[in-house]
């Protein structure tokens, strides 16, 4: 069976043994099926009779099921296969998840290989977003590894007829120290497979002082393949008899095909046929967008076939959407009293008594996640069941969406997870998998749907556009006495329930309802805004605009008070203490899915990262004319990041970013090297968006189509110096992939203010339509 599976995977790739490790088809299920033939030592559910009946003890470890068989397979030759149920999109999920298991298992890292899990509820949460892979799995995956080691020790003890307590699993070997006897994990694995799974109490986790992998700079498990062009991304999947699809989608969301003339398309060499796809009813959810699919023998023919299509469209209900006028509407709403969502003291009274009163409006446009791998998925329909491949962040959601669209049971949908060529939230929305499944069913042959860059930018789930109004007052000593934050944006829940216009608690907790400022009077208000595009998650989500407004306004207050912005930010944050927003009228605060007791909002940790980054950057040093430093701090995904950006602004408005410093307190860190990489990448993601990122719509259709219109930071624009400091901490692990992004934009614009006196309140700094706000100070706000 195993050989059969490998053969099938090999064929599926259309390769000739180029990949030693079949990434695609070695699914959990097929692997289990093969257990009897070659793979010995699996204590798999369904494999060994003991597993299911006795595994209760590890079913409910913090974070979920820690039953070793779910996560680990040890082959006779000692190869340890670790199942990664999270999607690897560059945050190194393969490596970090395996580190947790292998450290406790005492496995030899060089003998660890990864099995990518397909989408299945048996793994618990697989939704690889929200910066929670490590956070949610830190405990249970260590238990899985420790329990497996425990079973290997017991098996060896029985084999030798000695007490289990005298046996120790260390470096891939069980050792009986009294007699010096040793047995390799592979040799004893089959005996261990027959044992009962221990209870949680019987399993002892290592003391952190004994960690050999966790917390270390362990090299990536994916990079050795990447540098040879190996490894399979969603767009790389190849199946026998596979056809290729490119889809012409309605320009407006909920638009539909009015007329179609496909005669020229069918003349394009390589084109096989076209397929009409129905447009969805609201809400958009993860449904396919509809349109006309061109099916061809290769991707290029499908692209050419689409170019030859003559389609007219019904525009749908959002053809009135104009970004320019919508921005004005949002700003007007932000300047009117809104719904109060958090309150402390009496802001109105403080406004009356203030010595100085400031207000500012901030605007952040729609953004596109734009991973360099556009969405792509492959599906095979066998008449009753559908098998899908793709780079998806949430394979369980993909399964559900496909099942619903195809009218089959979830159990009849297999969702294989490939590598993700970047995701940033785009691939948590599996509409592209649904398209592949629908087309495979219609055509009766395996189909790969490839999105072009234009498709990605014009038919996305966009980061919400937002306007925010901030007001603050200063007393005669320059101290802030009142702080009003009013935030207005089309909410993400509108994508799942049509017509929702009120910012949700789930979005407010992203940097607004948990504002840490120790001002005596504070109020958070919201205003409504309708969604005219599909709104969705983008790396760090609403934290982007909330941090931009709050951290910018903090610096504006400092300037009004004539104070140093770093010192003033510390004063606003106030003394070290714990905050619970629910004490001040916040009805829902879920703390990113982590309990507040374990992961409090700790202003002491905020102050700490600010102090560290200020020292790193040499805050307060004298800078040449045209240079400036900007600072921002933001807590998100229960992690604290402070960033200092240095800019150089020339007389003619040219901007350079020579250096960035960042301090992160993410609690316990599993892989220092990859946390550093995420801080670098997450920060530049934020800087790139702040500099250039803007998606606009005209008549309801997105304007930007490819990289000339949608601009990303390039290497010559990246800082020459970037220093990361990771705070040493025993606190439980926080998120890492997203928290570096929110402080990046305000640190940048605060630096521009320091360098030039120009305050940027509207992003992006450089529009793709030729606007250059630095060169034109009159447009500064």
């Amino acid at each position: 069976m195993v050989l059969h599976q490998k053969e099938r995977a090999r064929q599926a790739k259309g390769l000739d043994g180029r990949h030693q490790e079949p990434l695609l088809n070695l699914s959990r299920r097929s692997f289990i099926a093969g257990a009897g033939a070659l793979v010995i030592g699996l204590t798999l559910r369904g494999g060994a009779a003991t597993a299911d009946s006795t595994a209760g003890g590890l079913r409910n470890v913090a974070g979920g099921d820690a039953t070793p068989s779910l996560w680990i397979a040890i082959e006779q030759d000692g190869t340890v296969r670790i199942t990664c149920h999270r999607s690897d999109m560059g945050q190194q999920a393969w490596t970090s998840m395996a580190q947790l298991v292998a450290d406790e298992l005492e496995a030899d890292w060089d003998r660890v290989t990864i099995v990518q899990a397909e989408g299945h509820p048996r793994y618990g949460d697989q939704n690889t977003d929200g910066s929670r892979s490590v956070r949610y799995n830190f405990t249970r995956l260590r238990y899985a590894g420790a329990a497996m080691r425990h079973m290997l020790e017991v098996a060896a003890a029985r084999h030798w007829g000695v007490a289990a307590e005298q046996c120790r699993g260390v470096h891939h070997t069980v050792v009986h120290e009294a007699s010096g006897r040793r047995i390799g994990y592979g040799e004893i694995a089959s005996a261990a497979a027959a044992l009962s799974v221990p209870s949680q109490e019987a399993v002892k986790l290592k003391d952190r002082s004994n960690w050999r992998l966790i917390g270390k700079a362990v090299p990536s498990l994916t990079v050795p393949k990447i540098i040879r062009g190996e490894g399979t991304f969603g767009i790389d999947v190849q199946l026998p008899e596979m056809l290729h699809a490119v889809i012409a989608r309605p320009p407006q969301v909920f638009g539909s095909v009015k007329t179609v003339d496909e005669s020229a398309t069918l003349q394009v060499p390589g084109v096989v046929r076209t397929v009409r796809l129905n447009s969805p009813q609201a809400p958009a959810a993860f449904k396919a967008l509809g349109g006309v699919a061109v099916i061809a023998r290769d991707t290029w023919s499908a692209i050419r076939g689409r170019e030859a299509l003559k389609v007219t469209w019904n525009p749908g209900p959002h053809a009135d959407y104009e970004s320019a006028t919508f921005a004005q509407t949002l700003l007007q709403t932000a300047n009117q009293p809104g719904a109060v969502r958090r309150t402390r003291g009496d802001v109105a009274a403080a406004f009356e008594q203030a010595a100085q009163r400031l207000s500012a409006d901030y605007y952040v446009p729609h953004l596109a996640q734009s991973p360099i791998e556009p969405p792509a998925a492959t599906a095979r329909w066998d008449g009753a069941k559908v098998e899908c491949w793709g780079g998806v962040q949430d394979p369980q959601a993909a399964r559900r969406a496909v099942a619903q669209a195809c009218g089959v049971n979830e159990d009849d949908v297999t969702m294989h997870v490939t590598w993700l060529g970047g995701a940033f939230g785009r691939k948590s929305k599996p509409d592209f998998v649904v398209e592949a499944a629908l087309l495979a069913r219609e055509v009766g042959q395996p189909i790969k749907v490839t999105w072009t860059r234009e498709d990605d930018l014009r038919h996305g789930y966009y980061h919400s556009v937002s306007a925010q109004h901030l007001e603050g007052t200063l007393d005669a000593n320059g101290r802030c006495t009142a702080f009003l934050h009013r935030t207005v944006f089309p909410p993400i829940p509108s994508t799942f329930r049509a017509g929702l216009e009120t910012p949700s608690w789930g979005e407010l907790r992203l940097g607004a309802s948990d504002n840490p400022f120790a001002v005596p009077n504070l109020r958070l208000e919201t205003g409504n805004a309708p969604a005219k595009l599909r709104i969705g998650w983008l790396r760090s989500v609403a934290n982007i605009y909330h941090a931009f407004a709050i951290q910018s306004f903090a610096a504006e207050l400092a300037a009004a008070a004539g104070r140093d912005p770093k010192d003033y930010l510390l004063e606003l944050i106030g003394p070290p203490r714990l905050i619970d927003p629910r004490d001040e009228g916040v009805e829902e605060y879920d703390n990113y899915g982590s309990p507040l007791a374990e992961y409090p909002i700790d202003t002491g940790r905020m102050r700490h990262v600010i102090d560290i980054v200020a020292k790193m950057a040499g805050w307060g040093r004298k800078l040449p004319k045209g240079r400036g430093l900007g600072i921002a701090m933001h807590r998100s995904f229960v992690t604290y990041v402070a960033t200092v950006v240095e800019v150089e602004v020339s007389q003619d408005g040219k901007l350079a970013i020579p250096a960035v410093w960042s301090a992160i307190d993410a609690g316990t860190v599993v892989n220092r090297r990859h946390v550093e990489a995420q801080v670098e990448g997450g920060t530049l993601y934020g800087l790139s968006n702040a500099l250039y990122g803007e998606i606009t719509a005209k008549q309801g259709a997105v304007v930007q189509g490819n990289f000339p219109d949608w601009r990303l930071m390039r290497i010559h624009e990246a800082p020459r110096e970037f220093t990361v400091h990771i705070v040493e901490s025993d606190a439980p692990p926080g998120g890492v992939g997203e928290p570096p992004t929110p402080p990046a934009a305000p640190a940048l614009t605060n630096a521009i203010f320091a360098a030039s006196g120009r305050r940027i309140r509207r992003l992006p700094i450089f529009g793709t339509d030729g606007r250059d706000r630095l060169a034109s100070p009159t447009q500064a706000s």
């Binding site: 790739k13 390769l15 180029r18 690897d88 560059g90 090299p219 990536s220 994916t222 990079v223 050795p224 990447i226 540098i227 040879r228 062009g229 190996e230 490894g231 399979t232 991304f233 767009i235 790389d236 190849q238 290729h244 060499p269 390589g270 290769d298 991707t299 290029w300 023919s301 692209i303 050419r304 991973p371 360099i372 791998e373 590598w419 993700l420 060529g421 970047g422 995701a423 940033f424 490839t450 860059r453 090297r673 990859h674 990489a677 670098e680 990448g681 920060t683 530049l684 993601y685 490819n706 990289f707 000339p708 990303l712 930071m713 390039r714 290497i715 010559h716 990246a718 800082p719 020459r720």
Partner: protein, 153 residues
């Protein structure tokens, strides 16, 4: 249209529609998926290959243009620069998601072949056609300089 082309040292015939970009011949016809699609308009560099030793964007290179040329892809690139670049890429874990990295590596190898000791400015100039949304740019600079040192020593 039948065309004979040399890819990674192997001469082979392919049957494709005239004008098909090299990228799709590599990916869809030859199964060499290491060369990536990112934009289709030579703006992102994910499709970078070597044609007769020079970096080219495969997404805008019609197949006819390489009919008599030597095409080298990430799967087949070799030599001292390739070895040094791969070593450096691995030693400091340059890639995050890895999707753009085939193109980054092909551009970096070509840079070292042309300029054995590149400065930061040289690197920025040679590499600015390769986008990386994960923003691994600082590590790319470091790795190219590390590789340059390795070749020299």
């Amino acid at each position: 249209m039948a065309i004979t082309m040399t890819v990674n040292g192997v001469k082979q015939p392919v049957e494709v529609t005239p004008g098909t970009p090299l990228l799709w011949v590599l990916r869809d016809h030859l199964g060499l998926t290491g060369t990536k699609f990112g934009c289709g308009v030579a703006q992102c560099g994910a499709c970078t290959v070597h044609v007769n030793g020079l970096p080219r964007r495969a997404c805008v290179t019609p197949i006819e243009a390489v009919a008599n040329g030597e095409v080298t892809t990430i799967e087949g690139v070799s030599g001292p620069e390739a070895d040094a670049i791969r070593n450096a890429w691995q030693a400091i874990d340059v890639p995050q998601c890895g999707y753009c990295q085939s193109g980054q590596i092909m551009s970096a190898i070509a840079l070292l072949q042309a300029k054995p000791t590149p400065s930061d400015d040289d690197i920025d100039l040679a590499m600015n056609g390769n986008l990386c949304r994960c923003a691994t740019y600082m590590r790319i600079r470091r790795a190219i300089k590390t590789a340059a040192k390795e070749i020299k020593s």
